[in-house]
Subunit: 129 residues, 2 copies
DNA sequence: CTACGAACTAGAGCCGTCTCTAGGTCAAGA
DNA sequence: TCTTGACCTAGAGACGGCTCTAGTTCGTAG
């Protein structure tokens, strides 16, 4: 049931380099088990955790902050409030990002509309000749 | 009606460094006019263009692609289709980004909910003693 | 045996995007 | 006259996040 680093790379979309990098940066919740020859053996839990990390990264959480969060989880029960703080803060940032992105989208869509109309009118003229 | 680089920095939120950098990277639609002593003098047009560039950057368009777009605009009429292509491509990317961001948001919101409930239950227990 | 592919480590390198430094010009006010 | 502050250029430096290299070690297939 254990997976090699290559298999995890496939399943997560991360490169093997990135996987080792993340491990070195301490953002894996639990120490990765090693198989014969010192090779990493990942569990489904590791993959699930990585997928969450990918979500956090995708939404712009910096690696050091993911590490802070991971550290809290590693420490175990009793710091849920701190974990919650980190998540809430990030949630707020993501919300802002979404608003900004929507603004950008609106602008782009307006411009696309204008250019589309213009290009269409040129095309119509050409056909009409 | 001309503005100094410092004034533009204030109005756009970019640093003066960033403004010079953007200029060097060729993402200003028109050559910035120079006043006495070789100082940059910006027009309202420049600011408007910069604000669009900021939108494009915020939504993840790389500087070289903004340059490509800017080059087309500088070249003048006749390449509207190419401009449209760049914008549409970017629009697509932004749309994807928004979907991803929403997924991340959902995950985070779920987790925040779980932690919030847990923290509340602990607090209730403490009060109830 | 040999060769191959996949893994290992430590550390260097790269890319994008600024950001800062050094050394200088200039204009206005004390 | 001296100082201050905003500006100038060219180029170096910083930072985040990977990505790649070099040199090894395995286990399996031919």
């Amino acid at each position: 049931m254990g997976l090699s680093i290559g298999q995890v790379a496939e399943r997560t979309g991360l490169s093997v380099h990135a996987l080792r990098f993340y491990e070195k940066e301490g953002i894996l919740a639990h120490q990765v088990h090693r198989g014969p020859g010192g090779r990493r053996v990942y569990t489904q839990q590791d993959i699930d955790w990585l997928k969450m990390c990918i979500m956090l990264r995708m939404s712009g959480m910096p690696v050091p902050e993911i590490r802070r969060y991971t550290d809290l989880v590693r420490q175990g029960d009793g710091n849920e409030l701190q974990r919650l703080d980190i998540l809430k803060e990030h949630q707020e940032r993501v919300a802002q990002q979404m608003v900004q992105l929507q603004e950008c989208m609106d602008l782009i869509t307006r411009k696309v509309g204008i250019y589309q109309d213009y290009v269409n009118s040129i095309a119509a003229r050409a056909v009409g000749q």
